[in-house]
Symmetry: C2
Subunit: 151 residues, 2 copies
DNA sequence: CTTCATGTAACTATACATGTTACGATTCGG
DNA sequence: CCGAATCGTAACATGTATAGTTACATGAAG
C-alpha cells in the first residue's frame, strides 16, 4: 500500500504543487494537489503549511477555499523553499561522532566536513539561482515541445 | 542504549579504523577497533568486510588474528572507500517520482537533478583528492600540536 | 445548518544503519 | 588434540524521519 520511500521529497513536492497552482486559475484544494502529486491530502496540508508559515502561500477554508501563491514567482527561489521546509538534512552520510576527543577522528571529521560543506554550499548556491518563474518557463518550453512533436 | 543515529557513518567509521590500524603494529581485532570507534565488533566486521571484498584490507582468524591494511596509504582515497562501501546514497533529499509523465514534475526533476548532480560531482572530486596518507599526515600534525601545547 | 475545506493530533508503515545474540569456521598455543 | 581466540554470518531488535491514514475540530460559504 505504501510507495517505496527512502528520501525526503518535500522540496520536490512543493515545487510540483506550486507550479500547478501557478498554472491554475483560483485556489487549489489539498485534495486536488494530492491528485497531481500522487500524495495524501493530509500530507499536502502538512507540507504546504510550512510554506504558509513562511508567507509564501495562503490557505482559505470552506467553500471555494484552497491554497494560493502569495508571492511573486520571480522572487521565490529553491533555497527559500528549502529554508521554509525547515532546512532538512541534505546529506545521508555523516560523521560517526561530531565532537570526538580522539585526534584520529578529529582528522577524519575535518576532511569529511570540508568536502561536505563545499558540496552543500554549491548545492545551496544552485538552489538560490533557480526561481519558480524559471521552472514555470521550463515547463512552458516542454509543453510547447510536446505540442510541436504531436503535429 | 542506542546512540542517536540519523546518517550513514560508515565512511567516517572505516577511515577512523584504517588510521588506527596504520598507527598500530600488527593486526587489530574487531573488538579493539570497536573500542576505538565506540562501535559493536559485529558492526566492525560487517563494515570492514566490504573493504576486504575490495582488497583494501585482509582479515586473519584465530590467535593473533585481526585486520591488516593491504594497500598503500598513498594510493587509497576517500572516493575508493565510498565505492568499496557500495556507493551508498549521498543525499537525504530527492525527487518524489523519478520517472514522471507530468511535464511539471519533469521540469522540477530536471532542475533538482542538475543541482544534485553538480554537488555530487564536487563531493566525489573532493573525496578523490584525499588519501589515507593525507589523513595520517593531518593526524600527525594534530598530534605534534597537542604535544607542543602541553610543554 | 449543511457542506466544503483547512488545521492538527494520533497512530501506522517503511527503509536502513546500527546494535545484539548466537553459532559456525578457522587458526594457533599448549 | 583440545580449547581459546577470532573472523564470518545469519537472525532479530532498535531508533529515526518522512509519508500514509483516520478522526475530528474549526471556520467559511451558500
Amino acid at each position: 500500500m505504501y510507495s517505496y520511500m527512502k528520501r525526503d521529497s518535500r522540496l520536490s513536492s512543493v515545487l510540483h504543487a506550486l507550479l500547478h497552482m501557478a498554472e491554475h486559475e483560483g485556489p487549489m484544494t489539498s485534495e486536488a494537489l494530492g491528485k497531481c502529486l500522487g500524495a495524501n491530502p493530509v500530507v499536502v496540508r502538512r507540507t504546504m503549511g510550512l510554506l504558509r508559515e513562511a508567507g509564501l502561500v495562503s490557505a482559505e477554508r470552506g467553500h471555494a477555499g484552497g491554497w494560493r501563491i502569495s508571492a511573486d514567482l520571480k522572487t521565490v527561489n529553491l533555497r527559500q523553499l528549502h529554508a521554509a521546509l525547515g532546512e532538512p538534512a541534505i546529506f545521508a552520510i555523516g560523521n560517526r561522532n561530531e565532537t570526538p576527543e580522539c585526534l584520529v577522528e578529529q582528522a577524519v571529521n575535518a576532511a569529511l566536513d570540508k568536502a561536505f560543506l563545499e558540496a552543500e554550499a554549491l548545492l545551496l548556491d544552485r538552489f538560490a539561482d533557480v526561481t519558480l518563474a524559471d521552472l514555470a518557463a521550463d515547463f512552458a518550453r516542454r509543453h510547447a515541445e510536446r505540442r510541436a512533436s504531436k503535429d
